[in-house]
């Protein structure tokens, strides 16, 4: 399993990663050691709940727990309260509707555990330990599990230990067949119809990233074509040979990021944005141009925005200010709150709340603001206003 946590604290949320899974818990810092130990158990649900419910069921903090199998694939989730668990291909797992917690079958190849208000930031690897963070991303390290090749017959070749003992017995045959024993796995036949040896001839092949990214290069060289072909075939959810030899995990390079995942905006955003807002806001641009704040606006000199889950952000171009970055700042309505995020702009973004000194935003960190706030991009100022008029038709994102 490759686990990463976002390097940004979210309230008192604690991220704990252990051998059997990962846990996001509110205010668990004083019990981090116990939780870490509990996450090392073969079936950590009971031990973790024991720790969390230590002072009575009524005092159990909000949490999200994802258990993983030996290859690091999620298999079970327990959620209480506000956090959510996302697994590609499954509906979002929540604790909604339960007074205690909800348990979910949660089989997949990757999972994101997310606390409300989790910030964005670099994703840092966390193999085992605890950190103040509101977001954990788990990726299975199941190359071994999903390719047939490593059904390891415990390597017949080396046997270095008893070789000396038996040394006199087998005189090396003079007819010496190739002294380099061919590794078992190169013998695997590529599947008919697969991509076979294409890769050796500069052909492009496809392999899902979960397994592609983690294979050590050295091994790759030997095993080349066949696993590539085989991996594609076994690629889907791919049930596993039970004997996942743990030894692949030792080699795991921390490349677990699934493309697209890291760039996704905070899920809290669209979650809440989907709920009909009862208050309406507008962004006032230079020249008194008004943009209703519906969904998400991306503002800049030549803005580019990523579309997530079909929600297309609205692009707002600002002409004539060279200090403004191409994509400078994001203004979004989340529930009833306007949230401003600096998009790693070159010159930064200040927000000036009414009656307050300017505050320089940290890049990628969504910051809630109130009506009357001025968003200062340098020579250009934007103002957030509450709209008393109705939102024009067609303004919905």
């Amino acid at each position: 399993m490759t686990a990463r946590v976002v390097a940004a604290p979210a309230g008192r949320w604690l991220a704990v990663v252990g051998a059997s899974g990962a846990l996001l818990v509110e205010g668990g810092a004083d019990r981090a050691d116990e939780l870490l130990a509990a996450l090392g158990a073969g079936d950590p649900v009971q031990p973790v709940l024991d720790v969390l419910a230590g002072s009575g069921l009524g005092d159990v903090p909000d949490f999200a727990l994802v258990l993983t199998d030996p290859a690091g694939r999620p298999r079970h989730a327990v959620v209480r309260g506000a956090p959510v668990v996302r697994i590609p291909g499954l509906d979002e797992l929540t604790g909604h509707g339960a007074r205690t917690w909800r348990e979910h079958e949660a089989v997949g190849t990757a999972a994101v555990l997310l606390a409300p208000g989790a910030g964005d930031g670099p994703l840092l690897p966390l193999e085992r330990g605890a950190a103040l963070s509101g977001r954990i991303e788990l990726t299975a390290t199941d190359a071994a599990a999903t390719t047939p090749e490593p059904i390891v017959e415990p390597a017949p070749e080396p046997a270095p230990v008893d070789a000396p003992a038996a040394a006199p017995a087998p005189p090396p045959p003079a007819i010496a067949p190739s002294p380099v024993p061919l590794p078992e796995h190169t013998m695997v036949e590529p599947e008919e119809g697969g991509f076979g040896y294409d890769r050796l001839f500069e052909s492009t092949i496809v392999r899902p990233v979960e397994e592609a990214a983690i294979r050590p290069v050295a091994e790759e060289d030997e095993a080349e074509a066949p696993p590539a072909a085989a991996a594609l075939i076994a690629a889907a959810p791919a049930p596993v040979g039970p004997e996942d030899d743990g030894d692949h995990d030792g080699e795991t390079v921390l490349s677990g990021s699934i493309p697209g995942r890291a760039e996704r905006p905070r899920p809290a955003a669209h979650e809440v944005a989907a709920v009909a807002a009862t208050r309406r806001f507008a962004l006032v641009l230079p020249g008194d141009r008004r943009e209703p704040i519906v969904g998400e606006l991306v503002i800049g000199r030549a803005p580019t925005a990523r579309v997530v889950d079909g929600r297309t952000p609205r692009l707002v171009e600002l002409d004539g200010d060279p200090d403004v970055s191409r994509s400078h700042v994001r203004v979004a309505l989340e529930g009833d709150t306007v949230v401003v995020t600096d998009l790693r702009s070159r010159n930064g973004t200040n927000v000036v709340l009414p009656g307050k000194p300017p505050q320089l935003l940290r890049a990628d960190e969504p910051t809630p603001v109130i009506p009357g706030t001025v968003v200062d991009l340098g020579a250009t100022q934007l103002r957030i206003e509450e709209d008393t008029e109705s939102v024009p038709e067609g303004a919905t994102a």
């Binding site: 008919e192 052909s203 492009t204 990214a213 000199r301 990523r306 060279p322």
Partner: protein
């Protein structure tokens, strides 16, 4: 080998000027690339698969896209994304006997939520969309490839990626699986923009600086189109893979931008934003 120039009206004045070329290269027996350049949709698909399935896959994907997006009218991001999902389903069906897949990368002129025109860029795989500002290329898409993963995690450098044994392994494609995850971006549509959409046969043969040089030095009155110039150069450089390129130029110059001050085509503004105080 097709050459297309759009002839229908665009929402903002004239339609973009487009040149297209897709070529077998010097080594391959089959051109597994397919291209579509029909206003408002511009796509490159680079098929893959054993037993010459790749050309079938890329052609099928392009057919489905062409059928889903009507010519002559701006489409929407949602329609474009739905079309890519449909293409995935169609290519996936082909895979009943043998696995096949294709990259699918490109852009369409779409109507934004405010009613204005914008570009929507979609990408699955390692074909690419670049923006050209007259001096430098900026890659808009992010490759779905193993080496890109490794670059992002700092395992290898971009330079090492070129020699990496996994350089031809992509992590997403249209077709091999029942579902596909699509990268989607939106960006403004404006006069005087230039974009390049290409398969990896171009970028693996030609260093970026060489492509930039060809774009910068291409004379409008030259006999060959820009796309021809790029593809011919890639073939001369080896042509080990199929090579496809679409070059799109929106009408007008940047100074004509609606409400524009004309400042945007000042050279320094073509670069990234300057730190305050230096400008």
């Amino acid at each position: 080998m097709g050459r297309v120039s759009a002839s229908s009206p665009a929402p903002l004045g004239e339609p973009p000027r487009v040149s297209v070329r897709s070529d077998l290269g010097r080594v391959r027996a089959v051109n597994e690339d397919s291209v579509l350049a029909r206003y408002p949709l511009y796509l490159v698909a680079d098929g893959m698969g054993g037993h010459d399935r790749g050309d079938v896959a890329s052609r099928r994907a392009i057919e489905v896209m062409a059928a889903a997006i009507a010519p002559d009218l701006p489409t929407t991001s949602a329609e474009l994304v739905a079309a890519v999902h449909a293409a995935n389903a169609a290519v996936h069906e082909l895979g009943a006997e043998a696995l096949s897949g294709t990259t699918l990368t490109g852009m369409a002129i779409t109507t934004g939520s405010g009613g204005g025109a914008q570009w929507t860029v979609v990408n699955v795989g390692d074909s690419r969309v670049y923006r050209w500002n007259g001096r430098a290329l900026t890659q808009l898409t992010v490759d779905h490839s193993v080496v890109q993963e490794l670059i992002e995690t700092g395992e290898i450098t971009a330079l090492e990626a070129e020699q990496h044994p996994e350089r031809n392994t992509i992590t997403r494609a249209v077709g091999p699986f029942a579902t596909v995850e699509i990268d989607v971006w939106v960006l403004p549509y404006a006069p005087g923009q230039t974009f390049l959409i290409c398969s990896d046969g171009l970028t693996k043969e030609l260093p970026l600086e060489r492509i930039e040089h060809l774009l910068a030095s291409h004379a409008a009155d030259a006999g060959a189109t820009v796309a021809d110039a790029l593809v011919d150069a890639a073939i001369r450089a080896g042509g080990r893979d199929n090579v496809s390129a679409i070059v799109i130029e929106t009408a007008g110059s940047a100074a004509d931008a609606v409400g524009g001050t004309g400042t945007r085509d000042r050279p320094r503004q073509l670069e990234d934003t300057l730190p305050r105080g230096i400008a």
